[in-house]
């Protein structure tokens, strides 16, 4: 059979979905990352629940409760980010992947999507748990809260995937990832925690401010994704 001159490369959206599906499929086989993320997030919520135990069932302020939720989401998200390129490093699959004709940006967005799905899966457990332990009224604006969390996931993972790729061959990547990532994603943490805390108090919910912080989260997430798309290829090639 003569070598062929060209191949028909799948469309961009298909490329993204195939990368994300591949990551989720590998994760589904072991559920190692998901279980570790879930365990860490639950432990963080429990630790705060015991630390802030109150006599007579007094409720914590919404800003503290939303802070606890976002801290657990961010720290558990680090587990997903630090492992997202392990699959490529094992067996040097990264080189084979980079030599396929798919776009580097599709690899980035596929990885990003995979991490966001994992973070969202953990939030399905952590949000009700936080609501239960801290008597938070998360149910009153459930869809809005979900939107805030998903936007926060995108902003956080958009930066994290780039750093995870940059630290692909670093031995101390777990430590470095947290040290480099957290200062940069502070705007996402602040906006996410502020927006959530405003929704947590149904009696005096400042919905105008909540809209502002949601928009801020969306715009900062969008900026981080664009910067991630721009930085991913040079970071990955290391050239």
């Amino acid at each position: 059979m003569l070598p062929r001159e060209s191949v028909s490369v799948p469309g961009f959206a298909t490329q993204v979905l195939r990368i994300a599906a591949k990551d989720l499929r590998i994760e589904w086989k072991s559920r190692e990352i998901l279980l570790t993320m879930g365990y860490l997030a639950v432990v963080i919520v429990l630790a705060f629940a015991f630390a802030f135990v109150t006599v007579g069932g007094e409720r914590l302020s919404p800003s503290v409760t939303s802070g606890i939720l976002w801290v657990s989401v961010f720290f558990s998200g680090t587990v997903a980010l630090s492992r997202t390129f392990d699959r490529e490093r094992d067996g040097e699959a990264i080189r084979a992947l980079l030599l396929t004709p798919i776009a580097r940006s599709a690899i980035y967005l596929g990885k990003l999507l995979g991490v966001v799905v994992l973070m969202a899966s953990v939030e399905v457990i952590v949000v009700p748990l936080t609501a239960m332990f801290f008597s938070a009224e998360l149910g009153s604006h459930l869809l809005w809260t979900a939107l805030i969390l998903v936007l926060g996931n995108f902003g956080y993972a958009a930066v994290g995937v780039v750093f995870s790729a940059a630290l692909l061959r670093s031995k101390s990547r777990d430590v470095l990832l947290s040290a480099l990532l957290f200062p940069l994603v502070l705007p996402v943490l602040i906006a996410g925690a502020r927006a959530t805390s405003l929704l947590l108090d149904p009696k005096s919910a400042d919905l105008g401010s909540a809209v502002f912080w949601t928009q801020f989260l969306g715009i900062s997430g969008g900026i981080f994704v664009v910067l991630g798309l721009w930085a991913f290829e040079p970071v990955l090639s290391g050239d």
Partner: protein, 239 residues
């Protein structure tokens, strides 16, 4: 479908990894690149595979400047000393994934044909879903070759392909490389294995400290001992 290098240099900071490499890798020939550690072989492989950009100089593919990107990568098949597969996925899932990234649907018949072409059809009967990490190194390497050939590439690159193979596996690999040559592919092999090089080489290139110390077309097959003598002599002259 030849690949030409014209005065290619590659610097990493102040370190010059490759210095004015000018040569041609013709189609239907196996070109073997030899050289001691640190000679620049991996950098050369990076440039040939489009993953590393030369600092200066030109790389031509079919007479046209080689542009790193989708069309060129679709013509490259790469096998390294690591298999370049996802160890947690099975043989079927790995090949189906990579085929899909080249825009192909891998039907059961095509999968069977692909495995047969690398001598794995019997070994993997009923084991297609087993994680690749459970396979022997030799089987992983055969599967890596099946992955590299999925899209019927015109340019085949091998980086230390026999590093983890036993003598039987190395002999099988030599046979497969010769079949690739007969199919009209441009085959480039980087190796330390002089036995393999003597068996397959149509051309021998020797790199030393980033320079081309020898570039010789072989008119007749050479024994390993003869090649070793030639190799040591060329290194001595270059020094």
């Amino acid at each position: 479908m030849s690949l030409q290098l014209q005065a290619v240099c590659k610097n990493y900071g102040r370190h010059r990894a490759l210095s004015r490499i000018t040569t041609e890798f013709p189609a239907g020939r196996i070109s073997v690149v030899l050289g001691p550690n640190g000679a620049g072989k991996s950098t050369l492989m990076g440039i040939l595979s489009t993953l590393v950009a030369p600092t200066t100089g030109t790389v031509l593919w079919q007479g046209q400047p080689l542009v790193a990107g989708t069309p060129m990568r679709a013509q490259i098949g790469y096998v390294g000393h690591e298999p370049g597969l996802y160890p947690d996925l099975g043989a079927r899932a790995n090949l189906t994934l990579f085929a899909s990234l080249y825009g192909q649907q891998l039907a059961p018949a095509a999968l069977a044909e692909s495995l047969k072409s690398v001598g794995l059809a019997e070994d993997l009967e009923g084991r297609l879903e087993l994680p690749v990490r459970a396979f022997s190194r030799g089987m992983q390497q055969r599967l890596a070759l099946a992955r590299a050939l999925l899209h019927n590439p015109a340019l085949l690159l091998f980086d230390e392909p026999s590093a983890a193979l036993d003598p039987t596996g190395a002999s099988w690999l030599a046979g497969h490389l010769q079949r690739s040559r007969e199919a009209g592919r441009t085959v480039i092999v980087i190796t330390h294995d002089l036995g393999l090089a003597a068996t397959i080489a149509d051309r021998i290139l020797l790199l030393r400290r980033g320079r081309l110390a020898m570039d010789r077309t072989l008119d007749a097959p050479m024994s390993e001992a003869e090649l070793r003598t030639l190799y040591e002599e060329a290194l001595r002259v270059a020094a």
